[in-house]
Symmetry: C2
C-alpha cells in the first residue's frame, strides 16, 4: 500500500483531550478516531489490526468446535425482564420506537442465545454444543476515559456453551482456558497475561479472568509467586491462600482484564426453561458457560504493553503491515528501487506499506516509529551504493544492512 | 462439517408467523432466526452465506481503491442536527443515556464520515479518496414484514468517495457502476439485476438503484425494452423516454432494491464545511458520492429469485457448502465410504457438509433440497456396488453416476 494514498495521516502531537496512552498513540498514529467519549472509529490501519486479532480469535474458537453466528443488538424488553436484568443492569441502553415498544441495546447476549438454543437443543444427543459471535456491544459507561480499553460501544467475541452435565461443563471450561491462552499468546500478550481467579457470583465458587499486567490497568490483581496465577482484588480479601496451589506469597499488580470465562450453570437456562431430555427421557436444565474477549481491549492492551517513547510496537501477528519501506530523498533511482521492492513484496503476499511521500527523512522516521510496523527498510543513495537494504527491527531498534534475499527469508517465516 | 453436530436443524414446516418467502425458507432451513419483527439472528449456515457475500463485496471495493474502516453506531445528536436530519428522518432510533445526552443509532454514516474526512483531507493532493465499511445499520421500520429484505437492524456496505471536481466524481461514479455489476454477477443475481434511474434529490438529476426483478419485490420499475435499463416508479411519471437511450417502450416489473449509488455532491460537505485547498490555494467544497449495498437484502433476494418448490437454491459462490454428502442406511461400509469422501474433500479445502444423521433417506433428501447446497452426493449400498457416486445438481435436479475423480474436477473448478 502506498502511504501517500492512505486515508489517514499521522499527527505531530497526540490529541489533547485523551489521557490514556492507548488512545493518544492510536489517534496520533491514525489508527482510530474518537467520535465521542467511549465511541471510536477504526481507521484503515486500525481496522487491519482489528481484523488480524479477529482472525486469530476465530481460528482458536473453530479449533474447539465453536460455530459462528451473528446475533442482533436490538433485544426485546421481555427477554431482559425474564432474567431480571432490565431493572438491575445500570449500564443498559434502552431504546423506544414510535409504537412505544422498548428494546435493550445488547451489552451481552444470554437473553438472546438461550431462547435461541431452546429451538434447537432438546435431547442429550444435541449436547454439548457451542456457538460464538464477534459483534458490537453497548454499555452506558458514563465516564469513559480509558481509550479503547473501556468503551460505550465495542467489539466482543462471546461464546456460549451448552452441556448435559456439570462434568462436561468443567471439561469444556478447561478446554477454553487453553484456547484463551493460545489467543493471548498469538496476539502477543502471552507473557504478561495471567489466569486470574474472580468471583463466581451466586452460582459458582469462582469465575476466571485473563489479566494483562501493565501500569495502565484499571484492575488490581495479586499474583501468586509460586504458580503465577492471579487473584482478583474483589475476592483477595476472603482468600488467604492461592486457590490454585495453596501458596501464600503474592505480588500486587495493576492490570487490564482482556478476557473472562464463567460457569453460568443454570443461571440463564432456568428463567427460560432451557431443558433437555436425558437418557431416561426426563427433563433436566441445561448447564451453560460463557466466555468473552474484547477485541478493542486486546488492541489497546497491546499498545499499553509494548509501546515505547517513540510510539507503538505491534507484534508481527497483528501488525497492520509486516514491513515499512521508506525511500529517502528525490533521487529517481532511489524511488525506482523502492517501488521494485514494494512490488516484489506484494507479489509474495507480504503485508507492506511504502512511504512514498515527498517529506523529509526525519518526518518519515518519526511516522514509522510512531506507527509501530515491526520491520523498517530504508532505501537511500547510500544503501544503493552499498547494494544492500537498511533493515531495522522496531522492537529492539537494531539496525543492520542486509540483501533482499535475506529480507524475504525473514518475512516469509512470519507469514 | 458433520450435520449431526450442527447447532441448527431444518424444520418440517415453515414458520407460521412469516409471510415472505425468504424468511419462511431461511428459517425452515436453519439459516436465520427471528428475534422480533425485522430483527434476525444469522445462524451458522446463514452466517456462512453472509460471509461469502461480504467477501465478494469487500474484494470488489478493494479493487476500486476503497479503504476499509469501521464506524460506530452511537452518533452524537449534534452531528445529526447539523444536517437537519435529527428532526426530519422519521425512522431514526434515538437513545438517551443517564446523563441526558442523546444519540442516534446510525441508519447511515454521512454524519460521521464527513467530520472524519475533515481531519485528513485538506488539499487537492489528498483527493480522490474512498472509504467503506461493512457494518450494522438501524432503521425504525414499524411494519417489517419482508423477512431479511427490510429489517430494523441490518448489515450494509456503505462506501463514501471524496472528489475535487464534478468530473472526477462522475468518473468514479461510473467505476462504481461497474463494481456493483461485478458484485451482483458474482453473488448470482446478475441476470435479474438492472441499473435503474431514480430521483437524484435536490442536488443531482438522477441517482441509480440496482433492482433485482422478482415477484416478491416491494418496488416497481419500468424496464426499457431497448437498452435494458430501468426507471423507478417514483420518476417514471415525469419521464416519457428512457434517460439512457431515449427508447419509449417499457415493461413493468416488481423488484427488490439491492443497491444504490448517489452523487451527494456538496449536500453533506456544506453543513460540515468539508473543504480542500485547490491548486491556487483557494478553499473549495469537496464533492461526495455514496454507495450502498445491503448484505441481508442480497441474501434474501437470492432466496426469492432462485428457490423452487423444494427449497432454497444457492449459487456456488455464496453457498454455505459446495457439496452435501448423504449416506443412506446403517450399513457400515456405506458410512465408511462417506467418511472417507468427507475427509478427502476437507483435505482439498472444499466446503462440504456430511449428513451423518441416523434418519430416513426421505428425511435426508428433503433437508438437502431445502438447504439448497449446489451439489449433492448420495452414498448407498447401490452406489458402492456400482463403484460410483450419485451426483445431483440442485438447480437442474439432474442426477448422474460419476467417479470420485470427476467429482473433484467439478468442485475444484468452483473454488
Amino acid at each position: 500500500m502506498l502511504q501517500s494514498r492512505t486515508f489517514t495521516k499521522t499527527r505531530k502531537e497526540p490529541p489533547a483531550d485523551e489521557v490514556s496512552k492507548n488512545a493518544r498513540l492510536l489517534i496520533q498514529g491514525g489508527f482510530i478516531d474518537k467520535l465521542q467519549a467511549g465511541v471510536y472509529t477504526y481507521l484503515p490501519l486500525g481496522f487491519k489490526v482489528l481484523k488480524n486479532i479477529e482472525n486469530i480469535i476465530r481460528e482458536e474458537m473453530f479449533k474447539i468446535g465453536g460455530q459462528e453466528i451473528f446475533m442482533p443488538s436490538l433485544h426485546p424488553k421481555e427477554n431482559w425482564e425474564k432474567t431480571g436484568r432490565w431493572e438491575t443492569m445500570d449500564d443498559l441502553y434502552k431504546v423506544k420506537d414510535n409504537s412505544g415498544r422498548e428494546n435493550a441495546l445488547g451489552p451481552t447476549h444470554e437473553e438472546v442465545v438461550v431462547p435461541l438454543a431452546k429451538q434447537f437443543v432438546s435431547s442429550y444427543r444435541d449436547l454439548p454444543v457451542a456457538v460464538f459471535q464477534i459483534q458490537n456491544k453497548f454499555r452506558m459507561e458514563l465516564r469513559a476515559k480509558s481509550g479503547i480499553l473501556r468503551g460505550r460501544e465495542f467489539l466482543m467475541k462471546d461464546l456460549y456453551s451448552f452441556h448435559a452435565t456439570e462434568e462436561d461443563l468443567k471439561r469444556y471450561y478447561e478446554v477454553m482456558k487453553k484456547a484463551y491462552k493460545a489467543v493471548f499468546k498469538r496476539v502477543g500478550l502471552g507473557e504478561r497475561t495471567y489466569l486470574t481467579f474472580a468471583s463466581g457470583g451466586s452460582f459458582s465458587k469462582y469465575s476466571h479472568e485473563f489479566q494483562t499486567v501493565t501500569p495502565a490497568g484499571e484492575d488490581t490483581i495479586f499474583l501468586c509467586e509460586k504458580c503465577d496465577v492471579g487473584v482478583n482484588k474483589e475476592i483477595f480479601g476472603e482468600q488467604k491462600t492461592c486457590p490454585e496451589c495453596g501458596g501464600n506469597k503474592f505480588k500486587e499488580e495493576t492490570s487490564i482484564e482482556v478476557g473472562n470465562i464463567f460457569e453460568l450453570k443454570t443461571k440463564f437456562s432456568a428463567p427460560f426453561h432451557l431443558t433437555f431430555k436425558n437418557k431416561e427421557g426426563k427433563d433436566e436444565l441445561i448447564l451453560m458457560g460463557c466466555y468473552g474477549i474484547g477485541l478493542g481491549r486486546i488492541m489497546g492492551a497491546l499498545v499499553e504493553v509494548h509501546a515505547d517513547d517513540r510510539g507503538i510496537v505491534w507484534p508481527p501477528s497483528v501488525a497492520p503491515f509486516l514491513v515499512h519501506i521508506l525511500s529517502l530523498g528525490n533521487n529517481k533511482s532511489v524511488s525506482s528501487v523502492a517501488q521494485k521492492l514494494h512490488k516484489t513484496l506484494l507479489k509474495e503476499n507480504i503485508r507492506v506499506l511504502y512511504d512514498d511521500r515527498d517529506v523529509s527523512p526525519g518526518e518519515k522516521f518519526a511516522a514509522s516509529d510512531l506507527m509501530g510496523i515491526p520491520y523498517r527498510i530504508v532505501i537511500s543513495e547510500k544503501t544503493i551504493k552499498a547494494k544492500k537494504l537498511e533493515f531495522k527491527e522496531r522492537k529492539s531498534g537494531k539496525i543492520s544492512m542486509i540483501v533482499e534475499k535475506k529480507l524475504l527469508n525473514i518475512l516469509r517465516k512470519l507469514m
